[in-house]
Every structure is written in C-alpha cells, then in structure tokens.
Symmetry: C2
Subunit: 596 residues, 2 copies
C-alpha cells in the first residue's frame, strides 16, 4: 500500500477527522485512527507478507476427511483476532472498537495486500456477523455473533448451488420445520469461500434455503444459521451438524481461501436456525451483499494499488536499454522508468488504482454516513447515493483492477510472469472480482433496470448533483479548466445517453434495449472515476499553492498528472460507448445461437 | 479448434490449393494437406488432450540434478516425432515433408490447443533447425540439424541474460577462440524455454555470445551451437559440455515447458561451434526471431480460438436465468447463450480470435510466398509485406488473445475461475505472448522507427495497397457498403496519423514523438484486422449468395455478424488513438520519475 495516498484519501479528500464529531466516534481521534492502521500494517508485515507466496503455491488440500491449510495461516489469523481489527467497526457491547468503516477499510487494505485472500476468512466473518446483528434475534446474536466477534467462530455465506449460479430464485436447498421450532436443512452449495477449514472452533454458515411449501422464485427464500457443529447451552461445542465437505475447487487465484462444495444434512438434515422471518431471506442477504459488493470493489482497487506500487519500485531499479534519443549504444543503460512507454503503463495503473481506491473509500464513507450522519436527511441522502452507486463501486474497480495488474506484469516483462514477483499473483487473484457477488453483466442490468429509474431517478440525479458541485468547486483553478469542461461535456453525454436508453426501454423490445447495458455501466463508471480524479485534482492544486515541501510537491504533481492521463487517455472512450447505446446497436441482440 | 473455420481460412480465404502449382509442393494435394492436419488432430486428441491439465498442475521440478517432467509428455512428443509433423515444412533431403507452412501451422494449431505449450519443445526445435539450415555450414547441419529433424535432439534459443532482457546489445556471455578453431563459451542465460529436460538424447542450444575483442553493442554478437552433450564423430553422445541448469522459473502459465536459468562453462568453458561468421549473430538470430514472432502471434490467436470455442459450447448447454422480457420467474431457465451480454462476450471473442487467426495465417503464407512464390517480384513483394507486418502479426493477437480469454472466463462465471475448465489456463498461458520475442512496447518502436520509414515506406504503402484492393473488391456487395466506407475512412485516419507522427519525429524531441508509439501499433493493428474481416465478409457474402446448405449458411452468417461487431464495437476506437498521436500528447513523456 501507498501510505501517503491512504493519508491523502482519509484526511485530505474525505476529511475523516470530521467523523470525530459524531457521537459514535467521540472516543477516537486521529491518533487512534492511525493506531489501528499501523497495527494492521505491522500484522501484515510480520505475519502475512512472509507467507503470502506460500499461501499461493500451497493450495488447501482435502484428504477426504479434513482440509489442510499451511499452519502459519492460523497464527496470522490469530494475530488479527487478538488485535481486534476483525471487529473494528462493531459496537463496543459486541466486542468491537466502534471505528469508522473508512478507517477499518484502510487498515484492511494492508492486510489484504499482505495476506492475499488469507484475510478473507476474517472479512467474511465480519460481513456475516454484521448481517446477523441487524436481522437476527438477540438469542441468535448471543449464541453465534459473539463468538465470531471474539474470533472463536468464523462465518460464511452459502448461496450458490450447482444448478443456479447467479439465479438465486432457482435455488433448491430445502428447509423443513421441526417440532422444536427449528428447521432441518438439506441440499448442496458450491463456491462457498471458507466453507471448511481448521482455523476456528466452529463455522457459522448463512444458508439460503426454501421452506417446504414456500412460494416459488425469489419470494420463497429464507435465511438460516447452519453451524458446522451445534453448540450446547453452556457454549461448548456439541454435535456434528451434518455439514459435509464434498470437495474443494482449485481456483486460478485467491488460493489461500478454500472454495468448497458443501453438502447439508445427508442423514437427518442439518439443524438450521431461522434468521428473521420466513421468505425474507433474500432481502436480508442483500443487506450483506451490498456490503460484500463494496468489499469486492475494494479488493479490486487494493490489488491494483499493490501491483502499481510494486511495478513502480521495480521500474525505478531495473536498468534496461536506452532512450530513443540516445545515439551512443555504449552509454550506460537507463532505469526502465525512464522509458515513455513504461511511464504510460505506470500512469495508467496509477489512474486506475488510485481512482478505484478513492471510489471504494467514498462508498465506504457513504455506507457509514447512511447510518451515523447527524441528521436523518443526511443519512437518507447518503443511503440514496450509495444504493445507486453500488453496482459501479463493485464493478469499476473489478474491471480496471485486473487491467492495472496486467500492466504491472508488462512493466516487469518476463520477470512479471514468474512467481519470484507477486504481480502475476495479483493478476490471478483480481480476476475473480468481476465474477463474484454479481457479475459485471448482472450489475449493469441492476443499474439500468433498478437503480436509475428508482424513486424518480433520485439516486441518479443526486449523483449528477454531486458531480456538478465538484465542477463548480474546480472553477477557481485555471489548471483544472480543461478537465472541468471535459467533465461537464461527459455529464451531458451521460444524460443524453441515459435518456435515450430509458426511451428505448419503454419503446423497443426490452431485450434489445438492454443488450448493451454493460456499456452503460462502463460509461457511467468512467464519468464517476473522472469526477473523483477532478476532486483529487482540486485537493492537489490547493495543496501545491501552499508550497509544500518537495516530497509532498512530488506527490501532488503525480496526482495532477494521473488526472490528466485519465482525461486524455480514458475519458474520451465514453463517446464510443454512448454511440452504441444511443443507436441501440443490435449487433449482439441479432446474433443467433446457431451462427456461433 | 474450429475445423470449419480452419477450412474456411485455408481453402476459401487464402486459397491454399493454388500452392499445389508450385514446384516445391507438386507432390501434394488437398488430400495430403488434410491428412497431416487430421494426423495432428488425432495425436492431439490421443496424447495431449488427456494430459493437458496434468501438464499444467504438475510443473516441472528440479531436484538439484535433473528436471522432472511427467512421463506422459515424452510419449506424446514421441508421437509427434514419429508422425513427422515436427519437420512438416522441411526439405525432403533433411527428412521433412515439404508441406506449405500454412498447412503446418493449421496442424500445429491442434497440437497447441491439445497440449498447451507441451508442443513448444517441438516448435522451438523446428525454429532452431530452420535457422541453422539457412545460416550454418553443411558440417553443422549434418551434425546437429539432422538429429533434430529426426526428433532425437531438441533445440532452444538462448538469448536473454539476467542483466539484459530486451537489450541484446548489452549481453555479456563470452566466447574465446581455441586452437582447434572452436570456441569456449562462459556466461549465464535466463528464461531459456526447454533449456533442460529428459525428452531427447541431447539439447542443441543456440547461444548469443561476444567473442573476445569484438566490438561493443549489437555489432559484436556472434551465434554459437552449444550442445548439452558433445557428439562423437560416429554420432554417439559424448562428454557433458558444462551446460548446467542453475534453476527453473515458475511461470504463471505455459507450465509444461521448462523455463530455465542456464550456466555455461563454469569449469573450462562449454564448447561452442560458430554459426556463419563472427559478429553477425544477431542478424542470424533475427531470422529466427521473425519466425518466432509469427509463432507467438499464432499462439495468441490459437489460444483465443480455443477459449472462444470452449465458452460457446459451455454457453449453449448451461441453463441460467431468464431474459429481461420474461415476466414469469417460474418459467424454465434459458441457456446462457440466449442472454445478449453473453452473446456480446462470445461475439467479441469471435471477432478477436478469428480475426487474429486469419492474420497469423496470412503472415505464415507471406513467409512462404517470400521463398516459394513463382517470380522474384512476387517473392520480393511478399517479403516486403511480411517484414512490415511482423510487429503487428506478433502483437495484435498477443494483446487481444488474452482479452478474448478473459471473456471466456467471464462467460463461464465462477466455473471459469477453477481448473475444472481450461479457460483459466488459456488466460494464464496467453499472458506471456505480449512479453516474449519483443514486448508490445518494443514492437511498436520497431514499427515506427524502422518498418514504416524503411525503403521509402515501401512496406507501409504496399500494405495500404492491399487494403484498397479489398475495399474495391467489396464494392459489388451492398451488405458490405457500411464496412468498406468505414474502412476507407479508417485508412484515411491511419494515413493522416502516420504523417503527423513522422513529422513529429523529425521536428520534435524524438522521445516525445515516440512516446505514444504503442497507440500507433494499436491503431494500425485494428485497421489490419478490420481489413481481414472485410476480406472474410466478401468470401462469406459470395458464399451466402450461392445458397449453401443450412450449416454452412449459419457459418457464413456468423462471419458477417462478427464482421459487423468488429466494425461497430472495435474499429471506432482508432479515432481516440489517432487523437492522442496527432496531438503528440505529452502526458506520459512529461511525467517525472519522482512524481510516481
């Protein structure tokens, strides 16, 4: 991670210190914020970084009975649990530190980079516990969330089934009500991250299943707590609950985290505890999924930052070749960072990685604001923005993170392709992000069919307002003129395109009107990232005017140059996507199955 | 591989049957052409496909003494050797089959897809032997090439050194002349593919080294045959020649082929046999490198085709979700190929993969024409075109192949990310192609600084002529109007941009003028692929007019739709690249090292 850039985001771009005036955070100060970030950094450096490669090359194995993970991971995860970072944002009463999510996210970034997805076990546990705290009964919270907050239990989310990946309405895991008022769960789930391991005393699966007699489709899905082991009334671990590991998947990346096929209740049914009410499971799960989507975007962004930083360091120290202007082939070689094309690959990475990072931190802050901002109006406004932007927060970093990682490989050349350096691992790890928690295609449909029209385009219009505010704020700075004019034009393009797609949706065949929805998300995503770069440019321009010391001056000039890169090399792409959308291009829609 | 598409390329697009009128190929007919292709297909299916995944998951290991490969590879490679396909294009006298390279390439495509890079051992051997046949003495050919053609020896090319990757002028391996007239070689090489293994009796390394006292830089490099074992006069294997395996690299993909660090002559120096004359080694090696560059492009293309075919089959058989127009959530799921966005991802792959395939086959045919076309004028013209196009033939498939493979993963979703399916392997394997045999950045500089200006832009102008011919040929077909108009405009853009870049090169700082050269290659590449798609469209349109049977009709309609996709979704991108080049955008050039 780039410490200076995190500091820039937290304290210059998003003013995290202002959070200290909120009651929830009143015990904190910038010192405690930095304390937790530094603790995370120390744990990452001490426990995760030394085993990062080993986690990647020693995939978890399954001997038919137990999952084998390298023993060092358990030690590293214990260190995270002891530090309390796993529950950094939770209430004091539940064993948490009541830290703002944006600070927890910055701390988590170090752990993610250091540990690859090793830290994923903790992150999923946190997300699981967060969901239960909102939707489960006190009894369930006492029994399952407390041990998760203490780090004794870990959590998963078990949604996907072999016969229905993204189509949750088609899932078929069954729940049968018992006389004691609990349920017996039977069925199969796949791709369950952290679905089995020996890192904790117990595993708390959140399982989507269909109660017998429930309506078909998405309206008949309920959510259950299904532990690996039952827990006795005194809190001790009880019987095995028939959650069997059917197999491990071998993933291209993210190998530290088991991806499992689980089979529930093959004999008598696994005991399941209903969360909330029957048939509302998907709603509850969506609560977790929105959080999970920000997490996925964060992973995309953080891996991009990691690859960028690594390749910058490499390029600064690797001599190779000479500049075209050099007429003497016997002169000393230059470091490759001097080559314009290497600069291009680094600047592109910077513009993707730091643009994505500011987007996910903005999303994290909105999520916090929607719960802890001072007025109901502010909370509602933040909620509106976040709800609208979630598909973009999930998708843009997921799509551009792997592109950044590919450039990091290219900067290193042959050395980037071998596991002596971690950039090829970042590339593999990051490739999952456009897939899980809703593919890019699904996010695009969500954006166009739900998020844009929702509440008379409230979220859409609020987002445009925010962009216009930034354009207005940039006016005093002449060096930003070029960019604010370009952004205003881009917003015009976005508005026209939105109108034309919505018109097509109501006048043309809906499948045709939505055929290029991925390009709509691409367009909107680029406008959002351009907006965040302009925001960063304003902060940097102001700071430069105050004659900072040389190191800071370099940092701010780098920001301005990455801003320029994004506006010159990236933002113009929206005109191509707009053209396809405005003409309701039918090339893909017209393609017939038998022509392939 | 898609058999129908190969047939289309060979017999409809490039008219390979016309090669039969050339003396060299007079013993062949379409029957023998297809015979060798079918043999390759049979070997791929019998020997390579069953071990493809095992080759990927069982990387070669090094116990300090010997490299361990899975034993099945030796069997598979023996089958290739027995079939004679390894020397398909070589002269009869040298044990070859005198087949046209385009036919050998089609045969090789099956082996590449079936065996991943397992077949790379043979391909490198062929390239090595081809070079020696042109540049080495008869004695060297007798001693080293014959056993390679027989499959008893294998070959490598040993160029890269730890201290100089792409900068060959800086290499430091030494050659000292001995009294017997041979040389002793000492030095270290890295990233040598197939540098050690137990697949053959001996390994023939082609080593670039600097004879003591030679000029510095690229003009003082000589080429040597340095075998793993010396060979006695009776042809039996002799002494160990001090070529020590210093270690194996662990690559992200292409794992069947060892990538080695070799150390030459640590005691007395390895015996080396000079190829041709001293100090002309780089010239000879370039002969091989041009071939190797077509091979790399071919690998990019063929892996893209493989991923495309696999994801089409998957999408046709995987039910998931419903179309937006479906109002009944309880209706049966559709196969995912029905979703417009899945069609988009498949069409994009088709346009990349089949566009790239036709480019590399065109390049292969030019290479053949430059040697076997009937008149000297024709041979010269083919040579001019090939020489000019090589950076594009190498780069475009290398850059767009991995993009296609990424889309194949996305089509499969979570299933694409695990090794149950081969698409994630294709993605990893293909990522090497933009790196080896000259990175994309280096190819771009080669194109702009050498290939475009060369001989009064002869190659450049010949290429434009070819494009104009196709535009002219498309005129009778109304359905192609849209595309030929667009292509003519694209060529105008290319011409303006070329002029403006050349002007900048002579009037502005050369490092600035070349800063965006990668975008120039991208632009030219897209025009070339658009041209080849129009060529394909003409053939398909003609064929459709002849009322083919339904299966062929589908095939040709698929071609037309992929053509349309490329012109609507891809070709417009050139306007953005042209804008950057025409304005000599300085964003990357201006970036300072300390700002990163």
């Amino acid at each position: 991670m780039n410490e200076r850039d995190l500091e820039f985001n937290l304290y210059e771009l998003f003013d995290s210190e202002s959070l200290l005036t909120r009651t929830r955070y009143q015990d904190h100060d910038r010192h405690t914020f930095n304390g937790v970030i530094n603790t995370a950094k120390a744990i990452a450096e001490k426990h995760f970084l030394p085993i990062r490669q080993k986690l990647d090359t020693h995939q978890p194995t399954f001997d038919g009975k137990k999952v084998q993970l390298i023993p060092e991971l358990k030690v590293a995860i214990a260190a995270v649990n002891e530090s309390g970072i796993g529950s950094a944002t939770a209430d004091y009463e539940l064993g948490g530190m009541q830290l703002p999510p944006i600070i927890a996210s910055a701390a988590g970034a170090y752990l993610s980079v250091g540990g690859g997805v090793g830290i994923g076990y903790n992150m999923l546990t946190t997300a699981n516990a967060n969901l239960l705290e909102v939707h489960a009964s006190d009894a369930l919270i006492e029994k399952w969330v407390k041990p998760m907050r203490e780090g004794r239990f870990m959590g998963t989310m078990a949604m996907t089934e072999p016969g229905s990946g993204s189509g949750l309405g088609d899932l078929s895991t069954k729940a049968t009500k018992t006389e004691e008022g609990n349920y017996r769960i039977t069925g199969s789930k796949i791709f369950i991250s952290g679905g089995d391991h020996d890192l904790s005393e117990n595993i708390v699966h959140l399982v989507l299943a269909r109660v017998q007699g429930a309506p078909k489709g998405v309206k008949g899905i309920s959510l259950f707590v299904v532990p690996k082991y039952l827990v006795n009334d005194d809190g001790s671990i009880g019987e095995d609950n028939e959650v069997a590991l059917a197999g491990l998947f071998h993933k291209m990346g993210g190998r530290a985290q088991t991806s499992t096929a689980l089979s529930f209740g093959e004999k008598n049914g696994s005991v399941g505890y209903l969360v909330g009410e029957e048939n509302r499971g998907l709603q509850y799960m969506f609560h977790m999924m929105n959080e999970a989507r920000i997490m996925v975007g964060t992973s995309g962004a953080v891996l991009a930052v990691a690859g960028y930083q690594y390749s910058v360091d490499y390029a600064k120290n690797r001599p190779q070749g000479r500049l075209p202007s050099c007429k003497d082939p016997l002169s000393p070689m230059v470091n490759i960072i001097e080559h314009a094309d290497v600069k291009r690959m680094l600047l592109a990475q910077k513009s993707y990685a730091e643009g994505a990072l500011s987007l996910v931190l903005y999303g994290t802050q909105l999520s916090d604001d929607s719960r802890t901002a001072k007025t109901q109006e502010q909370r509602q406004y933040a909620h509106t923005l976040l709800d609208f932007l979630t598909p973009i927060i999930k998708t843009w970093p997921s799509e551009y993170g792997p592109k950044a990682n590919s450039l990091a490989i290219q900067v290193l050349g042959g050395h980037g392709y071998i596991n002596e350096h971690p950039v090829e691992m970042f590339y593999r790890d990051n490739r999952l992000n456009p897939i899980h928690e809703g593919t890019t295609g699904m996010q695009s449909l969500d954006l166009l069919t739900r998020k844009v029209p929702m509440n008379n385009r409230q979220g859409y219009l609020a987002t445009l307002d925010e962009i216009y505010k930034t354009i207005e704020q940039s006016k005093p700075y002449a060096n930003l003129d070029e960019f604010s004019v370009q952004l205003a034009t881009a917003v015009d393009t976005l508005k026209e395109t939105t109108q034309s797609v919505l018109t097509a949706m109501s006048t043309k065949h809906i499948d045709l009107a939505l055929a290029n929805s991925v390009k709509y998300l691409a367009l909107f995503g680029h406008v959002i990232i351009a907006w965040l770069w302009l925001k960063q440019g304003i902060v940097a321009t102001k700071a430069l005017a105050e004659q900072p010391h040389q190191e800071d001056k370099n940092f701010y000039q780098g920001k301005c140059q990455a801003l320029q890169y994004f506006y010159r090399f990236e933002l113009p792409k929206i005109s191509l996507w707009a053209a396809l959308l405005n003409s309701t291009d039918s090339s893909t829609y017209d393609m017939q199955v038998e022509w392939f």
